[in-house]
């Protein structure tokens, strides 16, 4: 099964900053939603969302995990 990395972002309350809280490996968008909600359930999150790591566009570095994911290597 080919899985891809999704980064997980959440905010605790309305108006809080959206924070990066971790990542999950998932088959697709739907399983990423479920895995994220079930894995990072230590808080009663106001909002949570997931983003395919390859969809994140690096701005100032080309040696981090997001840049490597865009290039199709590593996480």
């Amino acid at each position: 099964m080919h899985e891809v990395v999704y980064d997980v972002f959440a905010r605790k309350a309305r108006g809080d900053s959206l924070c990066h809280i971790g990542y999950v490996d998932a088959l697709d968008d739907e399983t990423a939603r479920v895995y994220a909600w079930r894995t990072y359930d230590e808080e009663n999150w106001f909002e949570m969302c997931v983003v395919r790591r390859t969809a994140i566009i690096p701005v100032n570095r080309d040696d981090g995990p997001f840049a490597r994911a865009r290039k199709g290597v590593g996480r």
Partner: protein, 263 residues
Amino acid sequence: MTAAPIQASELDQAPRDALRRLVLTLADSKRLMGIRYSDWLLGAPSIETGIAASAMTQDEWGHARLLYSMLKEFGVDPGAVEHERATSEYASVDALDRELPDWAALVAAMFIVDGALTVALDSFARGRYESARSRVPKMISEEEFHGSLAEAWYRRLAASSEEARGLLRNATMEMLPSTLAWLGAADAPARSLVEAGIMEAGPVLLETFTQRVGPLLAEAGVDVGSVAPSEEWDADRGRGPGHPDEESAARARGDANRQLLVD
């Protein structure tokens, strides 16, 4: 189904007995579903899937506990039902009687059996029974995640290797007949629940179920419309004539930790 809510004590004997049977089969099925999920906490294909299985185990056992507590309305001690019953008295759906042999079988159970339970619960929540109206909607909202995961995995395995697809198809064909018989039950107790406005009729539930699962089952090469429901039926328990294996029932009762049980 509409009309004013009703309590168990207001029902005549026949629908009251039928309602008790329904609550018990739902509660036992939830407990056994939780056990089947728990079997995969450490053997799931990924850590994330294992965590999801753990969460679903907790959901199912929470749902079972809520359903067992409804039995108090029938003068039944839920503690005795949960911890002291003989294996042959369990009323859980047939497909959960034994450990599921592989991941494909768990995915099939997640999609077909847990899905059928949710169809039944959805109807139960919209019926006249007051306790179902107040307690079951939260269960259904928690089940949305189970449904999402089940659909994603079922679709993925159906489009996977021929071996995975074969395992999925075999598990599906094993589970469908007894699940269709359970959901579509039209015996006297089931009919009395329909007449009392507590549940929709079996054919209505089957239609809802078929619409939900049919397209995805077709991707695994299964035509749900061509599968005949099982004919063997135990009307006392509202399921087929078998029962869970001894190990499963012991886990459901909590036999290993009986000395730790606190009233």
